[in-house]
C-alpha cells in the first residue's frame, strides 16, 4: 500500500516535482540574490529556460517589473531639485534663525557689558574722587603735620649753579611746639568748636603732636568750615583737645 501511495505520489510527480523545483529554484534564486554580495554562485543554479512553467514565469515577470524601475528613473531630476530646494530653504531659515539668535545674544551681551561698563566707570569716578579729596590743600597739610612738618617761616632757596643760599634761613619751630601758620606761636586764641562743622571742611588741629599719638588727635571743627584754626592759645593747650572731642554740654561752658 505504501508503494501504491508512493507510486501515486510518483505519478503526480512531474507536476509536483516541477512545482517543487520551481519553488526550490525561486528559493534558490532568492538565496542567490541574498548571497550574491558574497560572490558565491549557487551550485544548483538552474538555467532559466530548463523548466518553463507558469509559476516561474510569473515570478520572473514580477522580478523584471521590480527590476525595471522605469518611472523612478524618469522622476529623479525633479525630485532631486525639490529636495535641494527644500534643503536650501531650510538651511536659509535655519541660518536666519541662527543669525537672529546670535544678534539677540549679542544685544544681551552688549547690555550686560554696558552695565559692567557703568559700574566700572562709577568705581573709577569714586576712586578719582577719593584721590581728589586726598590731594586738596587741607588734606596735604594734615598729612604734612602728621609727619611733623611745619610751615617755613621764611622762603629760602639754594642756587645749584654756585651753591649760594638765597634768603635768610630761619630755624623752623619744633613740631612739638604749638606751631602757628602765622609764623609765631600763640598769636590767636583757641577757636571755638561748633557742632555745625562740615565734613568737607575738616580743619587741621595745629596742635598735632607726633609724640602723643597722632591718630588719636581729632580734627578741630571751625565755624567757617574751610579754614583751620591757625594757632592755639597756649593757655588752652590742655583743654583744647578735650573740648574738641567731647560734645558733652558740661564741657561746652569751659571752652574758651
Amino acid at each position: 500500500m505504501s508503494s501504491t501511495r508512493t507510486a501515486g505520489r510518483e505519478q503526480r510527480s512531474p507536476g509536483a516535482r516541477t512545482a517543487r523545483t520551481s519553488r526550490t529554484r525561486r528559493a534558490t534564486s532568492r538565496r542567490t540574490a541574498a548571497t550574491k554580495p558574497a560572490g558565491a554562485e549557487a551550485p544548483d543554479e538552474p538555467v532559466r529556460d530548463v523548466t518553463p512553467d507558469s509559476g516561474s514565469r510569473r515570478a520572473q515577470r514580477r522580478a523584471a517589473r521590480s527590476r525595471v524601475a522605469g518611472p523612478e528613473r524618469s522622476r529623479s531630476p525633479r525630485h532631486r531639485m525639490l529636495v535641494a530646494c527644500t534643503a536650501v530653504l531650510a538651511a536659509g531659515f535655519f541660518a536666519v534663525l541662527l543669525l537672529n539668535t546670535v544678534i539677540s545674544q549679542g544685544a544681551f551681551r552688549q547690555h550686560e557689558l554696558e552695565i559692567e561698563l557703568i559700574l566700572l566707570a562709577e568705581e573709577e569716578e569714586a576712586l578719582a574722587r577719593a584721590v581728589q579729596s586726598a590731594e586738596t590743600p587741607v588734606e596735604v597739610e594734615r598729612a604734612a603735620r602728621k609727619l611733623g612738618m611745619v610751615p617755613a617761616a621764611a622762603p629760602v632757596f639754594l642756587r645749584l649753579s654756585d651753591g649760594e643760599v638765597l634768603g635768610e634761613p630761619v630755624p623752623a619751630p619744633k613740631p612739638t611746639e604749638k606751631v602757628s601758620f602765622f609764623g609765631a606761636p600763640g598769636v590767636l586764641p583757641t577757636p571755638t568748636p561748633t557742632p555745625s562743622a562740615e565734613v568737607s571742611g575738616t580743619a587741621i588741629d595745629p596742635a598735632l603732636d607726633p609724640a602723643t599719638g597722632l591718630d588719636e588727635v581729632a580734627p578741630v571743627p571751625v565755624e567757617d568750615g574751610g579754614a583751620a584754626p591757625a594757632a592755639v592759645d597756649p593757655a588752652g593747650e590742655a583743654a583744647e583737645p578735650q573740648a574738641s572731642q567731647a560734645p558733652e554740654p558740661s564741657q561746652q561752658g569751659v571752652n574758651p
Binding site: A107, R129, E135, P137, V138, R159, G167, F181, G183, P189
Partner: protein, 591 residues
C-alpha cells in the same frame, strides 16, 4: 443581455440584485468640492483682508503709535558741565554722575513702612519722608544728589514705587576753597553765582538724547530704531587762581576775622606783571556743595562786591600824582602842624603829635593825613581827580565779575568844601578791594596798570587749551614815579607803620590802612587793611588784606599785617621767587 456583461464603468446604475448601490465618488463630485473649497478659502481670505485693512489702514497709525510708545524710550543724555581748574590744573569744580530718588505715591502701599526703611539710608527724618511718600502724585522727588552707589543700596531694598532719575551733580572737591569766586550751580543745573554764573554759557554744554526700542529687560532691540544724539560737553575753564595760595590766604583771613571779631575779611593776591588774580579769599565763606544752608551774605565775592573807603592805602595815589606832576620828590620837606582845620572840619593824624618836620617819604611812612593834604594842595583837586580816574577809581576793573561794584568817586563839581582833603588821604570815596589791589599792581609794575583777570584760558573736551585774550596795560604814571613811590612804600615796612609785614631776606613794600567805615551815610567802626608787594626791587606778587568792622583792635597794621605776611611768605615759596639779596634804600623821613 446587458445584464450579462458587467458594467465597465463605475456608473450609478442600480445593481440588478436590487440592493442599494454604495456611494461612489465621481468627477462631478470633485468639481463641486473644489468650488466649495475655493469659496471657503476666498471667504477666509476676504475676512483676513478685511481685518488687515482694518488694522493697517483704519487703525494703523494709532496702533503703530501705541506700539511705539510701548517700546520706544527716549533717555535724556545730560551734557557734562565743563570743569573749572586752578592755574595748575587741579580741579576746583567738577561734574559727577548722581541720582535723584523719585517716588510714585500711588504705587507705595505702605508709606510708613517705606519711610522707615528709607529714612536711615537717605539720612532724612522719617516723618518728613512719610509725608513725601503719601498722596496721589505719580512723580515726586524724595531726595536729590545721591551717589550711584547709594542708589544701588536703596534699589536693593526693592520698595515698590521708588525710582531714580539719572542726573549729574556739580561738586567742589576742595569744599569752601575759592567758593566765593567759583559761585555755585542751582538745583536746575544753572550757574547761579560767581564764575559758574558768569561763564554759564561756556560751561553748560548742550544736552543730548538717545531714542531706542526697548525689550522687556531694558535692552535695546537690535536692528530697530536707535537714534543717538550725543551731548556736547561744556567747555572747561582754567583759572588764574592758585589753589594752594588760595588755601593759605583763605585760612589766614578766616582765622583773623574770627579772632578780631570782624564782620568780614578778604585777601586778594595779584601777579604784579600780568594782572592775574592768584587768590581771592573771603571770610566768612560758604560750601558750594551745600549752598542751600549758606548765609546769602557770605556767598558773594566781597573783594569785588564790597565797597569801602580806602583810607591810608589811598595815600599812595595822592603821592604818585604829586610826584608824577613834578611837585614833590620823596625827600621833599614839609612842616606838619598838630591839626589842620579847613571848611569847618578839623583833621587829625592817627596819633596826636606836635609840629613835625617830615619828608614826603616820612608823611607816607607815618601815614600822616595832614602831611598828605598839604602835599595834595600842590596839585589841586582837578589833578587829584584826574589821577584817581587814571588809577581806575570809580570805574569798572574790566573783570566783569557778577555783582562787581565800581565804587563811588565824586566829581569835583559835587564836592563839599571838605571833600578834597578827605579824598587826599583816602576818604570820601569808595572802592573795592580789587580796585585797591589794582592801584598797587600799577605801582609795582612800573606804572603800567593791567586789567585784573581770573581766567587763564579754556579747555575743550578733547583737552585742547585756548588761552584767554589779554589786553596790553595802560601807563598811568612814569616808571620813575612808580619806582620813587615803591621806595617810599619799602620805607613804610622798614621804618614805618608796616613793620609787621617784614619777611626775612626779602624787600617788601607795603602800606597800612585804617579808615572810618561809612555805614548808612554816617561813620561807624573801621575798615582795617594792609596792602603790599614783594620782592620790592622786582615786584612779582601783590597781596591786599581787608577786614571790615573788627571789634578787637582796628589798626590795619596789627590786623592785616600778619595775614599779609603769611600769605606773601607762602606765595613766594609756591611761585619760587627768590630774594635778590639787595637791601632797601633808606630815605630820610624827617628833616
Amino acid at each position: 443581455m446587458s445584464s450579462v456583461a458587467p458594467p465597465r464603468s463605475p456608473s450609478t446604475q442600480p445593481d440588478p440584485s436590487g440592493a442599494p448601490a454604495p456611494r461612489v465618488f465621481t468627477r462631478a463630485d470633485g468639481r463641486a468640492r473644489a468650488i466649495y473649497l475655493t469659496f471657503a478659502v476666498l471667504m477666509l481670505l476676504s475676512v483676513y483682508a478685511g481685518r488687515i485693512f482694518d488694522l493697517m489702514v483704519l487703525k494703523g497709525d494709532d496702533l503703530a503709535a501705541l506700539g511705539q510708545n510701548q517700546r520706544v524710550r527716549t533717555l535724556p543724555l545730560p551734557a557734562d558741565r565743563g570743569p573749572i581748574y586752578d592755574s595748575e590744573g587741579a580741579p576746583l569744580a567738577i561734574t559727577v554722575e548722581s541720582r535723584n530718588v523719585t517716588a510714585d505715591q500711588n504705587l507705595i502701599e505702605n508709606p510708613a513702612e517705606a519711610a522707615e526703611r528709607l529714612a536711615p539710608m537717605l539720612g532724612m527724618d522719617q516723618a518728613t519722608l512719610q509725608e513725601k511718600l503719601t498722596g496721589d502724585d505719580i512723580f515726586v522727588y524724595v531726595a536729590k544728589g545721591l551717589t550711584p552707589e547709594q542708589w544701588r543700596q536703596i534699589k536693593a531694598l526693592k520698595i515698590v514705587g521708588i525710582f531714580s532719575e539719572k542726573t549729574t551733580e556739580r561738586t567742589y572737591p576742595a569744599g569752601t576753597l575759592a567758593a566765593n569766586v567759583l559761585g555755585f550751580v542751582n538745583s536746575e543745573g544753572v550757574g547761579s553765582g560767581g564764575l559758574e554764573m558768569a561763564l554759564d554759557d561756556r560751561l553748560k554744554g548742550t544736552d543730548g538724547s538717545r531714542t531706542f526700542e526697548q525689550g522687556a529687560a531694558g535692552q535695546a532691540i537690535p536692528s530697530a530704531e536707535d537714534v543717538l544724539l550725543e551731548p556736547e560737553p561744556g567747555q572747561g575753564v582754567q583759572l588764574t587762581i592758585n589753589r594752594d595760595i588760595q588755601y593759605v590766604a583763605q585760612r589766614a583771613i578766616a582765622a583773623r576775622v574770627r579772632d578780631a571779631d570782624a564782620e568780614s575779611g578778604t585777601v586778594t593776591v595779584i601777579e604784579a606783571k600780568t594782572g592775574r588774580i592768584l587768590a581771592m579769599a573771603t571770610a566768612p565763606t560758604f560750601d558750594p556743595n551745600n549752598y542751600t544752608s549758606a548765609n546769602e551774605d557770605d556767598m558773594g565775592n566781597r573783594p569785588v562786591s564790597e565797597i569801602y573807603e580806602p583810607g591810608s592805602t589811598g595815600k599812595v595815589l595822592t603821592m604818585s600824582a604829586v610826584i608824577e606832576e613834578g611837585k614833590a620828590k620823596p625827600r621833599s620837606k614839609i612842616t606838619v602842624p598838630p591839626t589842620l582845620t579847613r571848611g569847618g572840619h578839623t583833621t587829625n593824624d592817627h596819633t596826636p603829635h606836635g609840629t613835625l618836620q617830615l619828608t614826603l617819604n616820612g608823611v607816607l611812612a607815618q601815614s600822616s593825613n595832614i602831611g598828605t593834604i598839604l602835599f595834595a594842595d600842590k596839585i589841586g583837586g582837578d589833578k587829584l581827580y584826574e589821577y584817581q580816574r587814571k588809577f581806575g577809581m570809580g570805574q569798572p576793573t574790566g573783570l566783569n565779575f557778577p555783582g562787581e561794584e565800581n565804587g563811588l568817586l565824586p566829581k569835583p563839581e559835587n564836592w563839599w568844601p571838605t571833600t578834597f582833603q578827605a579824598l587826599a588821604y583816602g576818604q570820601s570815596y569808595s572802592v573795592t578791594s580789587l580796585q585797591v589791589a589794582s592801584l598797587y599792581q600799577t605801582i609795582a609794575n612800573d606804572g603800567v596798570r593791567l586789567k585784573p583777570r581770573l581766567i587763564d584760558g579754556y579747555v575743550d573736551a578733547d583737552g585742547s587749551f585756548t588761552p584767554a585774550a589779554t589786553e596790553p596795560g595802560v601807563q598811568v604814571v612814569s616808571k620813575k614815579t612808580a619806582k620813587s613811590v615803591s621806595r617810599m612804600l619799602e620805607n613804610v615796612v622798614t621804618d614805618g607803620t608796616g613793620a609787621v609785614a617784614k619777611i626775612p631776606g626779602y624787600r617788601v613794600a607795603g602800606k597800612t590802612g585804617t579808615a572810618e567805615r561809612a555805614v548808612n551815610g554816617g561813620y561807624s567802626g573801621y575798615s582795617a587793611s594792609f596792602i603790599g608787594y614783594a620782592p620790592a626791587d622786582d615786584p612779582e606778587i601783590v597781596v591786599q588784606v581787608m577786614l571790615q568792622d573788627p571789634k578787637n583792635g582796628h589798626y590795619g597794621s596789627v590786623l592785616g599785617g600778619p595775614v599779609f605776611n603769611t600769605t606773601m611768605t607762602y606765595a613766594l615759596q609756591e611761585l619760587k621767587i627768590p630774594p635778590s639779596g639787595t637791601t632797601s634804600p633808606q630815605i630820610p623821613t624827617t628833616w
